[in-house]
């Protein structure tokens, strides 16, 4: 714009389009040009961010509550569908035995009867099919309670009243071996004493116990000191089912093309290290399965506005 042109605009004339644009500026303009489709996609993406979707969370909570209530009502109302508690039960007569509890008993007692073996094998096959750590997020009663208290932790953390103190994730592996070793050496199922999963499951079925005080302390620790500390750094049950999940075909898949690398998934994830692949530049291929430590909770699937994370079954083209 020439000096006279600028003066003319000051005195009241309308600004005109420039007659000549430098090549450098032309190049920048070119880069900024969008097709209509691009523009609409951008708008749509921004709008999708506003959509709050809790599809998988709602399904998961429903399943978790249903399973635990089925235990409770099988006893209370004597409908006898799922008798026992999460450590061991019978589903219409078929033995089901929690893998970690079975491990503790086998190591402590060193005598395996047929029913114990059958129940353990059944549950092993079941969770290989269903995704291993999906036990954690879809069945474990401590998970849902911890999820609710995590919400409190995040509220307090946003106001800077508390902060998350991380532990080394290797701690869980150390504890897994330590509890296995203690069972062998002491001859007692040491872990069961403090297992909030067993305590909560029994409390839901057989009525409240003093042990709920311990569970409450754990939850307070997670709210005030370290986010989801038990599930992330301690629980050997999660570790056991994680190993099962390593050979499971059911997992969350990451699709690079759909990803905007905004990282919302990592913020909601219980185990964000499994989502390292979503960081810009990390994905080795167009599709990447998420690792065995993933609890298949679906929070990332819900939160991703562009469908970059979806449930998938290995070997099946059709995605859920």
């Amino acid at each position: 714009m020439s000096a006279s042109e600028r003066l003319r605009v000051m005195f009241g004339a309308a600004p005109l389009k420039p007659e000549r644009v430098t090549p450098a500026a032309q190049q920048v303009h070119q880069l900024k040009r969008m097709t209509k489709a691009d523009f609409e996609a951008l708008k749509q993406h921004a709008r999708d961010h506003q959509l709050v979707n809790h599809k998988w969370r709602n399904r998961r909570w429903a399943v978790l509550l249903l399973v635990n209530l089925l235990f409770t009502f099988s006893f209370w109302l004597d409908i006898q569908m799922l008798e026992g508690s999460l450590t061991a039960s019978r589903f219409v007569g078929f033995h089901l035995i929690d893998l970690n509890s079975a491990l503790q008993v086998m190591l402590a007692h060193r005598h395996v009867i047929v029913n114990l073996f059958i129940g353990t094998a059944t549950v092993f096959v079941l969770w290989v099919a269903l995704g291993g750590r999906s036990f954690c997020s879809w069945v474990c009663p401590y998970h849902i309670v911890a999820e609710w208290f995590e919400w409190l932790h995040l509220k307090l953390a946003a106001r800077k009243l508390v902060s998350d103190h991380e532990f080394h994730r290797g701690a869980r592996s150390v504890l897994w071996f330590a509890f296995a070793l203690l069972a062998v050496l002491s001859g007692y199922t040491v872990f069961e004493t403090i297992s909030p999963t067993g305590i909560l499951s029994r409390a839901l079925i057989y009525g409240p116990s003093l042990a709920l005080g311990w569970v409450l302390l754990l939850l307070l620790f997670e709210v005030l000191y370290s986010r989801r500390a038990w599930c992330r750094y301690v629980c050997p049950i999660g570790m056991t089912y994680g190993m099962v999940g390593a050979i499971s075909p059911l997992r969350v898949e990451y699709r690079l093309e759909h990803c905007f690398h905004e990282g919302d998934c990592r913020k909601v994830c219980l185990v964000p290290h499994v989502l390292d692949v979503v960081i810009k530049g990390r994905a080795a291929d167009l599709k990447t399965p998420i690792g065995p430590d993933c609890t298949r909770c679906g929070l990332c699937v819900d939160v991703c506005p562009s469908g970059a994370l979806v449930f998938g079954i290995k070997g099946l083209n059709r995605l859920l």
Partner: protein
């Protein structure tokens, strides 16, 4: 915060640096490393303390087990105590099948015994209303078992001399219980307060109107146990522990003649006693004159 300040300091220093352009980058790394190292060290120490804490708390469960003042009465067919705690998977399936709800689960104050079944015989004894010892059938790990494997410990005096006769099944083709070992043994611990010893009878509800315990009275209903308070007694000489005992030849009323010619009575526990606790539950005096010594052998 610290991190940022040091980075700023490094970039401010850059123009003054005579060493050229690479210098600020090197400085920057040197300034940041100790902070990261310190954070990692803190995390490591924090994790080690946490691991120690979790293991320590779990091992605290040994304290109530080691210093067990009370020996719990366990359900029928239970392995020896240490084997029992090791093999029990804490699922409570035995609780669910008991028709008189005699079995309850231990709490965290029992340490390693958390979630392990026991019976408070005074409140609700095992009266074998189920006939087949359902809790043993329900147990998925063999903690409660019909046939103990030879490798597992057995104390002398625990195995029963012969299969116990269940009075309720007396007329059945198979009148015995599938139970190889006793749960404990009954003992007349307070003979002075025993009504029979005093030569007294008993009339009314054995344990009062508020007692919630139930018992199978075969003559009323073989399959539906009845609340003890709904079954009042009328006895000229109290013999509830003998008459309500569900097992044959487990207890008898011993009658002797004293020097002055008066007849004297005293309940006498016999070797076939399985230690189920019905006598302790039904004893109308408080505290009970006859009790179960949980997990104790027959020793005479």
């Amino acid at each position: 915060m610290n991190d940022k300040r040091e980075t700023e300091a490094a970039s401010e220093a850059a123009p003054l640096s005579p060493a050229g352009e690479a210098a600020p980058v090197v400085n920057n790394r040197r300034a940041r490393a100790p902070v990261r190292k310190q954070a990692n060290r803190r995390k490591f120490i924090r994790s080690a303390v946490m691991i120690g804490g979790v293991l320590g708390l779990a091992m605290l469960g040994y304290v109530p087990v080691a210093g067990a003042q009370r020996t719990r009465l366990r359900p029928p067919g239970a392995l020896e105590e240490s084997d029992f705690l090791a093999s029990c998977i804490k699922c409570g399936q035995c609780v669910q099948v008991c028709p008189v709800a005699a079995i309850r689960l231990d709490d965290i104050d029992s340490g390693f015994g958390i979630g392990v079944p026991w019976i408070d015989a005074r409140a609700q004894a095992c009266d074998f209303s189920c006939d087949a010892v359902q809790c043993i059938l329900a147990c998925p790990t063999g903690s409660l078992t019909y046939h103990k494997p030879a490798a597992l410990a057995t104390r002398p005096g625990m195995p029963l001399a012969r299969a116990p006769l269940l009075k309720a099944k007396e007329k059945d083709a198979e009148p015995t219980l599938n139970l190889a070992e006793r749960m404990g043994i009954a003992r007349l611990s307070r003979p002075d307060s025993c009504l029979a010893v005093q030569g007294k009878g008993f009339r009314g509800q054995a344990r009062g109107a508020d007692f919630r315990g139930r018992l199978r009275y075969v003559e009323r209903d073989r399959w539906r146990p009845v609340a003890v308070r709904d079954h009042p007694y009328e006895r000229d000489l109290c013999n509830l522990c003998v008459s309500e005992c569900p097992i044959g030849d487990a207890i008898t009323m011993l009658a002797t003649v004293a020097a002055d010619g008066r007849r004297q009575y005293q309940p006498q526990v016999l070797e076939q006693c399985v230690g189920c606790g019905v006598c302790e539950m039904i004893c109308p005096v408080d505290p009970a004159a006859i009790v179960i010594d949980a997990r104790q052998p027959w020793a005479i």
